[in-house]
Structures are given as C-alpha cells and as structure tokens.
C-alpha cells in the first residue's frame, strides 16, 4: 500500500532496470525508507526511537557475533574466557563494553519508543498489528537480554538465572519438573549455560525477523503522528528520504554521543559489582538484582507477599507476566476515538501524574535493597499499574470529553481558519 501521491521508483540505467525486473530489492528499500514512503510532516523527536532501536539491534548483533568468536560457553571457563576477551583479545574490551552497554541503550530506546506509543496511543486502529508485533519484539529482547546476562557466569549471572528459572517452580504441580527441564539440571550449570548461549545467539535473528514484520505492518496504514489525525492529502506528508533520514541521522548522532560516553568513560556504571566475582553456587549475594531494565518488573514480582488463595510467589509470577501481556489488549481496552494524549485532558493527567511516577517508583524499588518501605511502595505502585491499564484507561476512554482536534496535519502545522472538527481522525486511511 501507499498513498496515491507516493513517488514511484524509477530505475535510471540498464543495470538498475535489470535488477528491478529480476529482484526489485532497490524498489522495496525505496518504498520502505526512501522517497517512496510518504510520512506525516509533523513528527517530533519522539518518532526517532524506532530507527534507533533498529540500529541498537544491529549494533548488538555485530558486537555479539564478534564476542561469540572468543567466548567459551562452558561453566568451567566461561568467566575466564570473558576476562580473556577483556585482557588479551585485540579491542576485546571495546566489544564487550559496547555489547553490555549496548543492551542498556537498546532498552533505553525501546522504552522511549513504547512511551511514545502509549502517550500518542499509536496502538489504536488501524495500527493494532504494529503494536502487537512490537510487544512480541519486546518480549524477545527481554528473553535475549536475560540469557545474555547469564553468559559471563559471574555471581549475578548465576543467581539471576536461578531466581528467574525458579519462577517456573511456582506453577502448581508441574512447576518443579518444568524448572528442571528448562535448566537441564537442578541448578544452573553447564547444560543451562550452553542452551542460554545457543538461544542468546538465535533470538536476535528471530527478533530481526519480527522487526521486518513490524515495519511491514507499519507501511500498511503509514506512520502515526503527534496530532493523531490521519493523513488526508499530499500536503500532510513529506517523503521519508531526505526529510526523515536527515532527522534520524541527527538523532543517531545524539544517541551515539551518549552511548560512547558510557562505553568509554563509565562502562561498568550500569553493571553490578558482583558479576565480576565468578559464579559460586555456595555463596548467595546479599542482594540479588537483575539489570536496571528489569527493575520495574522485578518490583512487581516481589510486591506480592501474602498467600491470598494462591501462594504469594505464584501471584508475583502471574502479575509480572501479566504486567507485560496486558499490553497486547491495549488497542481494545482504550476505546477513545482520539489518539493523541495532547487532546485528551483526563488521559493526560493519569498518564503524567499516575503512570509515569508509578513506573519510576517500581523501577527504584526493583533495584533497591528490600526494606519495609520499598516493599510498601512497590505494592502501591503495582496496584496502580494494574488499575491504570485495566480499569482507569477503559473508563476514561468512555467518560472523557476530548479537546477539539485540528482539521488536518497541514492545519495543525500551518494554522488555518477552519473550525476544528472532532472525530475527523476516525476516518480510515486511504
């Protein structure tokens, strides 16, 4: 699909004509991220993070494949081989720090990308499929990151693996058998390390496949935009290239500045000291914590402390998985016809003063030492998290009176005397 006014790819010489006939790959690229893809002209910088997430995935694959050339997935030598990479492999320290910090930056851009989707309700029709695939990508990236953290075989690797696979032990009746089956043993050891390495290598390529579907699904309705009003005419759009390639290029520069500052000057800031101690099944660390990007979910896991009908541990596991899986239902939970949070006064209040502080509190509590205060805070925040998505969002979407929308994107950008019309954005895309 495309808008009627989308530019068409025209092969210029004999060779490109020949290629276009046999395998129209240049045409595909032209239509996907070239001048053939008309994009709303009013995208703000929040729309940079999709491209940046793709870049981060590529960065992780490149540095990861190089690390895999030197890493040995065996519990006897995994820790030593990581130190071998740090000390003896040429530029090995750079590859490892780039990969470890690359994971953190991948999550930074993914979270900002999801934040954008939540505030501008990008998940709403006709873009539900893009959102669903995005949640799948997020789950894949989480699994990949978790297994990657196990590979250096430090104390946090080992105990993190033990805690997370232990969650499956909470399943009634079959839980412990499943846990043993997943680990290939009663505790994380060589069998677990090897399968984690294998899957850690595989899943990024699966992710790349789903990313292609994500982008494909995006090109059916075209990109959303900050007004949430659908594209109506050619004047609402600009070609992706050169307009958004230039804008993304600048965004990439900012991303790389922050990323390299961390890699070269604070490479261990986001890591945990205990992971520089080799895995020791006999010594439990004082505070087992995952990497920062899992903290909010870890706080939800630890918030359930009372056996209310079900065991507390099972509640925690269910809630942790539910906290992400509920995103799959967002397009149908939020029925407001207006997309952008800019025009939704009630939604906006709950978003900025409810959801955002709630997630920050969860993030803080997930990383902190357990204390009565952090547990109480994460319990309140967990309650709000579920209320927000499952109760508040459906209710405000039916009681809220949205603010007037601009007639069109062009209107919003250039201004006009036309009266704003509510509900115009519900017209399906051409």
């Amino acid at each position: 699909m495309s808008f009627a006014w989308a530019r068409q790819y025209e092969p210029k010489n004999g060779f490109t004509k020949w290629v276009d006939e046999k395998l129209p790959l240049p045409r595909l690229v032209y239509n996907a991220v070239g001048a053939g893809y008309p994009v709303p002209r009013n995208l703000n910088y929040m729309w940079n993070f999709g491209v940046l997430a793709g870049f981060a995935l590529l960065l992780q694959i490149v540095t990861g494949v190089i690390l895999a050339m030197h890493y040995a997935a065996n519990a006897e030598v995994a820790f030593a081989s990581t130190e071998h990479i740090m000390r003896d492999v040429n530029w090995g320290w750079l590859m490892r720090y780039a990969h470890a910090n690359g994971a953190s930056f991948f999550f930074v851009v993914i979270y900002l990308h999801i934040f954008r989707g939540l505030f501008y309700s990008s998940y709403k029709a006709p873009r539900e499929m893009i959102w669903l695939l995005g949640v799948v990508i997020f789950l894949l990236v989480m699994a990949t990151a978790f297994m990657g953290y196990v590979l250096p075989w430090g104390q946090m690797s080992f105990w993190g693996a033990k805690v997370i696979t232990g969650l499956f032990g909470a399943i009634p009746l079959v839980g412990e058998s499943i846990q043993v089956w997943l680990l290939g043993g009663f505790a994380p050891d060589n069998a677990a390390l090897n399968r984690f390495f294998s899957l850690h290598f595989l899943l990024p390529f699966v992710t790349a496949g789903v990313v292609i579907l994500h982008i494909w699904a995006l090109h059916i309705p075209g990109s959303s935009n900050p007004t949430g009003v659908e594209v109506k005419s050619e004047s609402d759009t600009v070609p992706f290239h050169p307009y958004y390639t230039a804008k993304d290029g600048f965004g990439l520069g900012i991303f790389l500045l922050a990323y390299f500052a961390m890699v070269f000057f604070l490479p261990n800031f986001l890591g945990h000291a205990d992971n520089y101690i080799e895995a020791n099944p006999l010594a439990t660390p004082a505070n087992i914590v995952p990497e920062w990007y899992f903290w909010p979910f870890y706080a939800i896991l630890r918030a359930f402390t009372f056996d209310f009908i079900l065991p507390a541990k099972l509640w925690g596991v269910l809630a942790m998985f539910a906290s992400i899986l509920l995103w799959f239902f967002l397009p149908w939970l939020d029925k407001s016809p207006v997309r952008s949070g800019h025009y939704r006064p009630l939604f906006r209040k709950f978003f900025w003063f409810g959801l955002i502080p709630c997630i920050l509190v969860l993030g803080y509590c997930g990383g902190a030492h357990l204390s009565p205060i952090t547990i109480a805070l994460s319990q309140i925040a967990t309650a709000y998290y579920f209320l927000h998505f499952l109760v508040i969002l459906p209710i405000i979407s039916s009681v809220e009176k949205p603010e007037p929308l601009p007639y069109s994107i062009t209107d919003a950008v250039l201004g006009s005397d036309k009266k704003p019309v509510l509900g115009e954005n519900t017209t399906p895309a051409v």
């Binding site: 130190e83 490479p267 499952l390």
Partner: protein, 289 residues
C-alpha cells in the same frame, strides 16, 4: 467484552497486592524492626582519589610499581592473581629484560621435560601469577575456612572499588573504642563481640573480616624509589595496583574515547545542519503541536 474481562482482572491483581500491602503494613506497625550493628555501624569507603580517576586519569606507573611490591611482599602470601600474566607487567613501565627478571623471582608449578614429574620452576613472562595454595581445600584449611579471594578483579568486584580496598586496608580498629557518627559501638550494642579468628573492620559489610590486618608497620616493604612506606602509602599503592590488574586496558579505553567522541560530535553537528537545511523549505514558523 475485552474491557469487562480487563477490569475484572485488574481488580483481582489490585486486590491481591493491596491485601499483601495491608498485611505487611500491619505487621510492620505491630512488630519492631530489629536493628543490627552492621546496619548501624557500617562505614562507607573513604573519599580517596587516584591519578587514574576520571575521564582524563592515567596510570601512575611509579605508583603501580610500588603497588606491585606490596602485592608481592604481602598480599601474595595468601591471595592469587590468576588473570594477570607476568608479561602484563610491561604496562607498569618495565622493559622486556626487567619483566623477565621480575618473573624469575616467582616459582610456578611445571613439568620436568626429562622425567615428566611435577616440579617448581622459575616463572617466565608468559606464565600467570601462581596461587599460593595448591587448591581451595588447602586455602581454606590454612585460613580458618575462609578462602582468600583472587585479587585480579577485586576493585571491580566490590562496590566502592579502589577506595573501598584502601579503606579496608587502613580501616582495622579496636571495636572497644570505635564510634560512627558520634555514636559508640559498645554503648549502642554492649554485647557486640568479634568472633574468634575474625578482625573488626567497619568498612567490611558485616564488620568482621577473616583477614588479619595485612599492613601493620611503616617500612614493612622497601620501595626502590625512596618513598616512605607508611601504612596509608602502601594501602594506596596496592589499591592502585589492583585497579590496574582489574582493568589493564583502562588507559587505552580513555585514550580511544576522546577521539571517538570528538568525531561523533563533529558528525552530529553536520547532521544537524543538513537536517536544518533540508527542512527549511517545509518548516513553518513555530506553532503548538
């Protein structure tokens, strides 16, 4: 339908977590939390700086050489340094011949090429620092069941890094006179006792450390450069040395970082200018949203 199921699910999770909250709050209000001495009297690492700190910091090779002497004369009696090879000592400013001579001062296990029997031989630059004990059981047996940890990564493996190591080495105190934030330990916890075989050190997480004070007298080691080997000096030098063993590539990292950041900054400015130029034609005057 989705919304009804959603609201019900949301309420169930909310109810379950709020019950947990209620039960926890009730028990917190009715039972008093137990305060522990280690919670109260644990001290944060001292604020000590090293020449290699910060984005412009570099190794002070003279200091690392002094630290190596402390490791060799004192720490190596109990602690291994298994990820460091003698060839790495070239980083400390030694020539190839000097590295060879330094390595030869150490004995490592080897194999007699004629008989195949295990023997001890002088180390070569390609060898790694030997462990003082043949195995963990021997290490535990010789140290009251506490295996002395390998020191290669020590400054990275502890919160607080090199300042923590320095604080620990200089921080042994008599618990009878120890006070923290103006509060005396024995006044707050009159029955506080250091278990036999352990040593009181407020910088250690549980206050009692299995390692006896290793640096006890000025002049315990002799520095070739004439620096006076006070306890503080030795502690600082060996902490710096262990920062180097934890990350021998640190100088490379920082020196590579600046040109990379410079290049990316330049490229980002160019990207910004081209973006501005490309958008000039379609960008209207600023307006909300």
């Amino acid at each position: 339908m989705v919304r009804i199921i959603g609201i019900l699910t949301g309420l169930v999770f909310t109810l379950a977590v709020l019950i947990s909250f209620g039960v926890d709050t009730y028990s917190n209000l009715t039972t008093e939390a137990e305060e522990t001495a280690e919670h109260h009297f644990h001290a944060e690492p001292l604020d000590v700086s090293f020449p290699h700190d910060g984005p412009f910091g570099k190794w002070d090779t003279a200091q690392l050489q002094r630290g190596y002497v402390v490791y060799k004369e004192v720490c190596s009696a109990c602690h291994s340094l298994k990820y460091v090879a003698f060839r790495d000592l070239a980083d400390l400013g030694y020539t190839e011949a000097e590295v060879q001579a330094l390595a030869a001062e150490w004995q490592v296990p080897g194999i007699d090429p004629r008989t195949g029997e295990t023997v001890m031989r002088a180390a070569e630059p390609t060898d790694y620092f030997p462990s003082p004990y043949p195995n963990d059981v021997a290490a535990a047996a010789a140290n009251n069941n506490a295996i002395p940890p390998d020191l290669s990564l020590m400054t990275k493996a502890r919160h607080g890094g090199a300042p923590y190591v320095y604080s620990l080495l200089t921080g042994y105190e008599d618990p009878a006179t120890y006070s923290h934030d103006g509060e005396r330990l024995l006044e707050a916890y009159p029955d506080f006792e250091v278990p036999t075989g352990l040593y009181f050190n407020p910088y250690f997480p549980n206050l009692n450390l299995a390692m006896a004070p290793p640096l006890t007298t000025t002049g315990q080691v002799t520095y070739e450069d004439g620096t006076e080997a006070t306890i503080a000096q030795m502690s600082k030098d060996v902490s710096a040395f262990l920062s180097w063993t934890a990350e021998p590539t640190m100088d490379d990292r920082k020196q590579t970082g600046w040109p990379v950041l410079g290049f990316v900054l330049f490229a980002t400015i160019l990207a910004y200018l081209s973006k501005k130029q490309i958008w000039a034609a379609v960008k209207p005057a600023k307006r909300k949203h």
